[in-house]
Symmetry: D2
Subunit: 151 residues, 4 copies
DNA sequence: TTTT
DNA sequence: TTTT
């Protein structure tokens, strides 16, 4: 059982092409550099301000393969995952820490990932597929505005 | 592949005990009534305001069993799920629609669910377990503040 | 103070053009019909399955104006908000309930909203602008991979 | 306008008491070390596994004051914020990077924060207070299960 | 119907 | 009603 929630949701653009490597057992690992930009008008100067944050995202397995195949520098993407901080040794022998987002869901947002669904899944989202138990329920069949509902 | 994101995150308290039923094939279905309360100070009157929203949450399978066993009226719980609107027929034969949150993760937040982990899982969270590929990474081993880092 | 969390995150497409109305005091209210589609391969039949969920989103104030001006039928959009269930009376005098997402953030995701930033804000996101206290911090200035970091 | 989403949601426990400092202009800054723990049953060994992730959370202003006053080592808390990576110089003159969660919402989850609401707000959540435009809408007034709704 |  |  999990004791805690550790969830990250990002929408941003890739700064470089993704890098895919394979572990000895053949599992794919894809690293992504993702930019999220905030802009706002400064209250004092009245000028438009902008700040970009860069994120390290890592994908494993099937998600890594899809990311490596369909994402490119500039791609806009939705990423859901969890924070993880890795410890490593710098060349000077000192400990360093790097925080990454370990992705467990991904969606392309710029229409360049047309073939993505073909291989059978855009992430570890099987838990989101409607369960058999719910199969008797039906979605609303009417997307228009209902005059019957007073706003 | 999913084309869209449909995600709900709730933290609230149960208004009544959960209700568990079993489908013909033996799968559990648990319904929960969850209250989320917002309060704020009104800018005009300066008075404290409060508003409670009631949510219908439905859990299936293993999650339904855990919810039925460990949650009670008053329990504080974290729910993650997706929105789903069901169509049904009122006694007058007219269509009605009910929107529910179909849970795919749950966590008790008031310490009454101590035994929860025993049975093997607090939801459909297997995708969040660290993957084998990451097993070489180590968590930071120190929860204290690092004097080395200037704030 | 809030006692509870009530958060919804959606990415989907508009089924119809947004509808904007103005309250007596001149404040805009915009209603949106948003589709989120899930698709998955059925484990038993092996066939591709698909299910679309329709959401009612309502925006107020500045966000309503932006939504009404920039969104159109087919637009892909990110919505963040909270669930709210309204009670209303059907023509038969009976109570009905409609659940909506009250938006507090919105982002266009298909590049058709280029001019959106001009008016000064894409939502109630002022709390997300970097605060003055943080202004001494600098973002990482390099979106590339760092050879120094072993993966 | 924002171009991107950068959102973190954490539920965890403080590893140490929060540390509050004041900037020259009197604004509070509070640093928090937060642990989120995942546990799962290993499929191969069948043994229970556990992994704790430590997060650095920083709060500013009013939120910093509340965090400093009400949170303690061991407190369970909900944090919502955004990722930010700061660059700093190690004693060896080399660049280091530290990733933090800049909080913009917080909620105590263990009942020790009884007096929290008194001072007027548990975070930058004013945007979540029901807006005047919505004041004509009423919440559902019935939290019980409705026999009328067939499950 | 919950909770603080 | 959308979208891929």
């Amino acid at each position: 059982m999990a004791r805690g929630i550790n969830k990250v949701i990002l929408i941003g653009n890739l700064g470089v092409d993704p890098e895919t490597r394979y572990s000895p057992n053949g599992a794919a690992v894809t690293n992504i550099r993702l930019a999220t930009t905030e802009s706002w008008r400064d209250k004092q100067s009245g000028e438009q301000q902008e700040k970009t944050e860069w994120h390290r995202v890592v994908c494993f397995g099937k998600l890594a393969e899809i990311a490596g195949e369909y994402l490119r520098k500039g791609s806009k993407v939705y990423i859901e995952g969890r924070l993880q901080t890795r410890k490593w040794q710098g060349q000077d022998g000192q400990d360093r820490y790097t925080t990454e987002i370990v992705a467990n869901d991904m969606q392309m947002l710029d229409g360049r990932g047309e073939g993505m669904g073909g291989g059978g899944g855009g992430g570890n989202r099987s838990q989101n597929a409607p369960k058999k138990d719910q199969s008797e329920t039906a979605p609303m069949d009417d997307g228009g505005f209902d005059d019957d509902i007073p706003f």
